[in-house]
């Protein structure tokens, strides 16, 4: 046998390298395929299970179980949460124990969501809304672990986008023809699945059974929108993630530690370049933050609009509000998961630095900082706090790339704070004004009392732990031993004690009154409108129009009456009254519709109300206050 010459060895080496690259690419493609298959498969199975065309009836029959099962699951979930808090979950030395507790909690919630479907029909769909992003993150962590974080998130985003399109595209297939959401089809289907309450014949004010049917009917569209929102959020997160070379940091550190002015200048320039690079990437992040803000605001305003819809369809409003809150919760979980766990695991947090390290930090740490990074390896693959990383085949490969993923939390939050709506929200969230304090008291008192009670119990457990040498509870510092509550809760209580309580409580009273006016005042308005409708519908169309116009104007002059209720009344009242006089079938109805819409919008000039108050402007205008005089 002859030894291969240098050329042959180079060829062999090149072939091996090519083969390794091919294998790596094939493995990554395989991972993407597996991820896609799992996500699309789950979405597809979910669509089948919760569609009236396929297995929706079977699912509905199966989920109609006694309510105590759901209540017990919820109680178990609450018990796990309370026990984890009391026993200092975050200080447990065993990761397996922590994961076990989280798994148990998830299990309890899943069982609750599934078994409570008969009383809260939006929960099973909510399970999908909450579960899909968590499934995506789990896939990113385990299946796509060899991908840079940004690419993994982008893969998930593409998957969510495809899921969104698939769900929307499948809508006609699922719900057209004999499964269309018509009254007859509903009645048949509900009777088939054993619902006795099938009295739903008009509007959207449905029973729980019909709400479930309605949710099944609308679920592909709702889930499509939700998946689209997730796709947007994940794209933004992936855009915010940056790769920063530790060697660049090392160069800056070394340069700054040198004595000569030239070297210091060099170090400063390097630092400035790093800053410039960050600014460049902030432009992208700014766009991302804008879209993220828009997505979050979209969901929140959807909640508001759903509440405004209440007079026309209480159940629909309720369902939309529940689903929107679940979507918000899921987005929050994704953000916390990304910015919390990722940042925590990617940076040697024992050093107390932010990531990326600033120039002064690199200067103070010198070479220690890049060495710490090198010792830690690509942090997204490294468990935090010195835990055993186990065998990670991608770790070496990732490290060769000498780049570290940075979650971009600071940049994203900084860019988000530049958004007008986010700043507006945060300005109202400051607790140094009476209204915010009152809102906190009004909304949070029951929870705060519970929190204080749990904090007292937690402190007692810590004392016990110290006395008995328990390793899983936090070791109390000598200064904390005399506290009745945990240090954290004591700080909160001290902060609250400084509030001007008389003013705050009076404001709480006004908030409660406002809740009454807005919530029950609206119901009384609708009752008044319904009385008006029943009274006017037998009158001549002209009289009915005049009377409705007069009453409508009066309603508009009352602060709590929403405009939508008046517009809706116009259609309900005037259309049947005017249909006959306007020509009957087939065109009379449409002319009456337009007439009602026009009357709700404006009025013809001859109506007497236009001259009710020909106000002499000077008589009623403010006495030219400086605000107005200033223009």
């Amino acid at each position: 046998m002859t030894e291969p010459d240098i050329g042959e060895r180079m060829d062999l080496s090149s072939d091996k390298e090519t083969s390794r690259s091919m294998k790596r690419v094939a493995r990554m493609v395989g991972e993407v395929v597996v991820t896609t298959a799992i996500m699309q498969g789950v979405a597809f199975v979910y669509s089948l299970l919760f569609s009236t065309r396929f297995f929706g009836g079977d699912v509905m029959r199966a989920l109609r179980m006694p309510s105590y099962v759901a209540q017990m699951s919820l109680a178990a979930a609450a018990a796990v949460v309370v026990a984890s808090y009391l026993l200092d979950f975050s200080y447990w030395p065993s990761v397996q124990a922590q994961r076990g507790a989280i798994g148990l909690l998830k299990l309890c919630f899943v069982v609750y969501a599934v078994t409570a479907g008969s009383s809260e029909p939006s929960l099973p769909i909510g399970l999908f809304i909450l579960g899909m992003p968590l499934l995506g993150l789990a896939l990113a962590k385990h299946v796509l672990r060899c991908f840079p974080t940004a690419h993994a998130l982008l893969t998930l985003a593409v998957n969510f986008f495809v899921t969104s399109l698939t769900l929307l595209g499948s809508y006609p297939f699922f719900y057209m023809g004999d499964t269309f959401f018509s009254i007859d089809n509903q009645r048949l289907w509900l009777t088939d699945v054993g619902c006795t309450d099938v009295g739903f014949v008009k509007s959207l004010a449905a029973s729980t059974c019909t709400e479930a049917a309605f949710l099944m009917w609308i679920s592909p569209a709702v889930l499509s929108v939700v998946c689209l929102v997730y796709a947007v959020v994940l794209v933004l997160l992936s855009l915010s993630i940056k790769n920063i070379s530790p060697w660049a940091i090392a160069r800056v550190a070394v340069a700054i530690r040198k004595e000569s002015a030239v070297d210091r200048l060099h170090g400063t320039i390097m630092g400035a370049l790093t800053q410039a690079r960050q600014k460049e990437s902030q432009k992208t992040v700014l766009v991302a933050a804008k879209a993220l803000t828009a997505a979050m605001m979209f969901v929140m305003v959807a909640v508001y609009v759903a509440a405004a819809l209440a007079p026309a369809g209480t159940k629909l409003s309720h369902a939309v509000i529940s689903l929107c809150f679940m979507a918000l919760l899921a987005i929050g979980l994704v953000l916390v998961s990304m910015f919390g766990a990722a940042t925590w695991s990617k940076w040697p947090s024992w050093r107390g630095h932010s990531w990326p390290p600033r120039t002064r930090q690199t200067a103070s740490e010198g070479l220690g900082l890049p060495f710490a990074l090198v010792g830690r390896g690509p942090a997204s693959q490294t468990p935090p706090r010195g835990r055993d990383p186990g065998t990670r085949p991608c770790q070496t490969h990732r490290f060769r790339g000498v780049s570290f993923d940075h979650s971009g939390a600071e940049e994203l939050s900084g860019a988000a704070m530049q958004q007008p709506l986010v700043r507006l929200t945060f300005s109202y969230m400051r607790t140094d004004n009476c209204v915010t304090q009152a809102v906190c008291v009004f909304v949070g008192t029951p929870l705060f009392v519970l929190y204080l009670a749990l904090a007292a119990a937690n402190q007692a457990v810590r004392r016990l732990g110290k006395a008995n040498g328990w390793s899983f509870t936090k070791t109390l510092a000598p200064s904390d031993e005399g506290l009745a509550l945990t240090r954290f809760a004591s700080g909160h209580l001290a902060h609250v004690q400084g509030w001007p309580w008389a003013s705050v409580l009076i404001m709480v009273n006004y908030l409660a009154l406002a809740a009454w006016v807005l919530l029950y005042g609206s119901t009384l308005t609708y009752m008044g409108m319904a009385m008006l409708i029943s009274w006017l519908k037998t009158m001549h169309w002209l009289v009915a129009s005049l009377m409705f116009f007069a009453v409508g104007i009066v309603m508009f002059l009352l602060p709590p009456v929403p405009g939508l209720a008046v517009y809706l009344t116009a259609g309900i009242l005037l259309t049947p009254v005017c249909e006959g006089p306007f020509g009957g079938e087939p065109y009379g109805f449409w002319i009456a519709c337009l007439y009602a819409a026009f009357l709700a919008y404006a009025s013809p000039r001859p109506l007497p109300f236009q001259v009710v108050m020909p106000l002499p402007v000077g008589a009623y205008a403010p006495p030219t206050p400086p605000l107005i005089a200033g223009t």
Binding site: F181, S182, D184, S203, L204, A205, F298, V301, A302, A306, P311, A312, G313, T314, L316, R423, A502, S503, N509, A512, L513, A515, L519, Y526, A530, M531, I533, S534, G552, I553, F556, L557, L558, P559, V561, A565, V566, Y567, L568, T569, G571, I572, L573, P576, A592, C593, A597, Y601, A602, S603, V612, M613, L615, V617, Y620, P625, P626, L627, I628, T631
Partner: protein, 266 residues
């Protein structure tokens, strides 16, 4: 109707209220928020921001605010003219709901119309918030150019002093037990009544939609009675809370007045 209501709310309510310093102070005409709204509303023509504020804002407060700020009626009507995007689909939804029993497709059409109206309202509301904050952020100089209302500024200063006097007089450490009981007990009862309304509405009151028959609910012991037994409890608690609030406010006013008189004597 909406346009007519705008005129009446603006001229009949807003401008009358605007002549009262107390109202202008309460509205906060010197605040940057209101100045930003004013800047948007006073622009001539049909701008998107103006349309969003007038059509996307809550009906009564927005219309009355235009009167308090002394805005031009014709310009407000111009800005409000796209409100047909809300009135038409909503009225149509009402009309369609009446025909649901005739044909299935009317139910879907009614739902679609309601959803369309909701989307329009949602987008306009969102844009309103955006434009107001955008003006506050990027057009600060123009906002600063608005002179402050001197009367309101004086009233603000007076109110601030009164608030300080109130907080001093009602400090918990100095408050007698009876007043504390009125304040804490009343607030507790009032808050509980609101919680009942918000959390267990269906146990207290019957849900009511515009298409429901009013005769079904206007009774005391029928299956769909508008107010259920727990509802009466909630209303009773509301009444008790209001009495406590009035009682505490009366005590606090006397306390503030007596402290002021004592200070004047000194």
């Amino acid at each position: 109707m909406k346009l007519m209501a705008q005129i009446l709310q603006q001229k009949g309510i807003g401008e009358r209220l605007g002549s009262l310093v107390y109202v202008r102070t309460t509205v906060g005409v010197n605040s940057r928020l209101i100045k930003a709204i004013r800047l948007i509303l006073e622009r001539k023509g049909l701008s998107l921001a103006k349309v969003c504020v007038l059509c996307g804002g809550p009906d009564w407060p927005t219309a009355v605010l235009t009167g308090i700020l002394g805005c031009e009626v014709s310009q407000m009507l111009l800005g409000l003219s796209p409100i047909f995007m809300l009135t038409v689909p909503t009225s149509m939804a009402g009309a369609f709901q009446l025909r649901v029993a005739e044909d299935d497709s009317w139910a879907a059409a009614a739902s679609m119309m309601l959803l369309l109206a909701s989307c329009v309202q949602m987008v306009l509301g969102l844009l309103m918030l955006y434009f107001i904050e955008e003006v506050k952020t990027h057009q600060g100089e123009q906002l600063d150019a608005f002179e402050d209302d001197a009367e309101v500024a004086a009233q603000d200063a007076k109110a601030e002093a009164e608030q300080k006097a109130f907080e001093t007089a009602t400090a918990l450490a100095e408050m007698p037990t009876g007043a504390k009981a009125l304040l804490f007990g009343g607030t507790g009862v009032m808050a509980c009544s609101a919680y009942m309304l918000m959390l267990i509405t269906s146990e207290c009151f019957e849900d009511f939609a515009l298409t429901d028959d009013i005769d079904d609910v206007l009774c005391l012991d029928c299956p769909r009675a508008a107010i259920k037994p727990l509802g009466f409890v909630a209303l009773g608690m509301l009444g008790a809370g209001i009495l406590c609030l009035v009682g505490f406010n009366g005590w606090a006013a006397r306390k503030v007045a007596s402290r002021a008189a004592g200070a004047a004597l000194l």
